[in-house]
Symmetry: C2
Subunit: 336 residues, 2 copies
């Protein structure tokens, strides 16, 4: 083992980390060749697995620079499970991949603790993961995180474009700030075009930049999934890279367009600050940031009151932000 | 989009890549919020999902330096699906995560083509993936690849330590060279301690270093899974980081040890070269490299002939390398 350790790979540090993660996740079976998940299929007639993978993007560079690595795991889980929820499926289990230059078990434990917290918020189970120590690949304390989630739905209950109708109401769920998208632009504006520091506080914000930028991505599973299961939701767009235009377009059938009324929901102050500081056009803004909506639900008008009430009850900020209109898959954001 | 592109993220390059991957994988549904996989459960009484995640490690740095990125995707799939096979499960589907500093769609297409090839060799389906363009995280043309595979088995058919008995025969399946482990040590020996070039050819090798080092990890699914399904295999160890000692120990029950007779299988010439050049002890060797065995199967004596014949027929190099003996989970490699 000596030669390998001298070459920069400490297998024992890896084993120690696996033990720590077993404790954190309360899953003593971690560390086998593969994670096991028994399927309980009683309620599914035609079960379909829905699976997604994602990362945290260069939000990680903020966490690394700030030395605040405790919540990027929540972002990681959120990016994956919100995608699964958007299909109408229930997240079952999660695995994480951590690529890192030098394995410091204490720091890795902080990172994975965020994953464990995210998995808990999603009502899922962490059944495996990989920590890859890769000297020379990741330098300057950098690491990358990738996540994989698997969910399940009955085939007939998968959300489906065909269910959408003209006049369906668009409900937006408040985001928790930037979530995990647009960070290369954020970093460019704040730290390359300008010389802001992570300890600076921007106008309208109640905390310094590092904490504002690192607000964890909201996980919508527990509030939205029950409504999906009751058949009250027509379709869901998870608003990530590409913003409202790209992500809402993906749920539209060929004969409908989505019309948003800008001003019917609050845009997070950090985004207004970034627009001013970076001199961004509204076009740049809407294609890069979530504009304050982490998830958009299309709901038949007769279900809107019930859905709004249930979501508010579950702790979401819910806004009636627009409608589906006749069209050709356009996403229109009306500013008048 | 202009501001985001100037900040180093080209969303349109990403969309172009998704289209390329759709073509390569012949899966036109890629690009939805989550990948779908309908479960056909007819043959499973108590289905258990088996899931694993892994990466390629710093073998990637060799591929990047050599400009040969076509086969690391095979390594990626192999690392994941061989783990799933080791549990006795059938790989169903795969997702990949590619983190990259600057997205060059042509190069990314080469990388993903390897993933598609690996998934084909495993008899699985590529149902999703993520390409994350992360300027400043990955520099010097670096990228990282993580993979995620899900398989299925009937609960009663999962391979199980309890099935192993004293006297069971250990069959080793020939590896295709180094596979995807030990590369930080390989790079240390060849390129830091010494000044070898990727175009050099070492003694006993029939190709230059870059091609030798990049031989893709062998995928054992199609040859081994049918034997698992026939109940002919007691247990399987996938030989990865930690070598025979760590990986074979994981399949042993508390009352058995594994005894290997060194010399009953060929060690790949590259490993002998590395031992000499790096002045490695046998202890370093056995804990770092697979020593020529990519997979070790424990088989009841009465099934050995049938299993050997079937594996040879399927194109594997099969060696009878040892036995299970009474003991305490030790892995002994006898050199006398």
């Amino acid at each position: 083992m000596d030669a390998y350790k001298k070459a920069g790979v400490d297998i024992n540090a890896g084993y120690k980390l696996v033990d720590e993660i077993k404790n954190l996740s309360k899953n003593s079976e971690l560390g086998a060749f593969g994670g096991l998940f028994p399927l309980e299929l009683g309620k599914y007639k035609n079960p379909v697995l829905v699976s997604g993978t994602d990362g945290v993007g260069t939000k990680l560079l903020i966490a690394i620079q700030a030395g605040l690595n405790e919540t990027v795991g929540i972002d990681l889980v959120a990016m994956c499970v919100n995608d699964i929820l958007a299909q109408g499926a229930k997240p079952l289990f999660f695995l994480d991949y951590l690529g890192i230059g030098h394995l410091d078990p204490d720091n890795a434990k902080k990172i994975v603790a965020g994953v464990v917290e995210g998995v808990k918020q999603a009502g899922a189970k962490l059944i495996g993961g990989e920590t890859a120590e890769m000297p020379d690949m990741y330098t300057n304390g950098h690491y990358d995180l990738a996540g994989f989630a698997v969910g399940i739905a009955d085939k007939d209950k998968l959300l489906n474009k065909a269910a959408l109708r003209e006049g369906d109401v668009l409900l937006g769920l408040g985001s928790n700030g930037l979530h995990s998208n647009g960070f290369s632009l954020v970093r460019d504006i704040l730290f390359k075009q300008h010389d802001y520091k992570l300890a600076d506080q921007l106008p309208g914000l109640d905390q310094d930049l590092k904490h504002e930028l690192l607000r964890p991505t909201r996980i919508y599973v527990k509030s939205v999934l029950p409504l999906v299961e009751q058949g009250l939701i027509g379709s869901i767009a998870h608003i990530t890279g590409g913003g409202l235009p790209e992500n809402v377009a993906r749920i539209l059938p060929a004969n409908l367009a989505a019309e948003f009324n800008y001003g019917t929901w609050p845009v997070p102050p950090i985004m207004n600050d970034l627009q001013k500081i970076g001199n961004l056009s509204f076009d740049d803004m809407k294609h890069t940031f979530n504009l304050g909506l982490g998830m958009v639900l299309a709901v038949h008008p007769e279900n809107v009151d019930q859905v709004k009430a249930a979501l508010s009850e579950a702790g979401e900020q819910v806004y009636q932000v627009g409608r589906l209109v006749s069209g050709f898959q356009e996403v229109i954001i009306r500013k008048d």
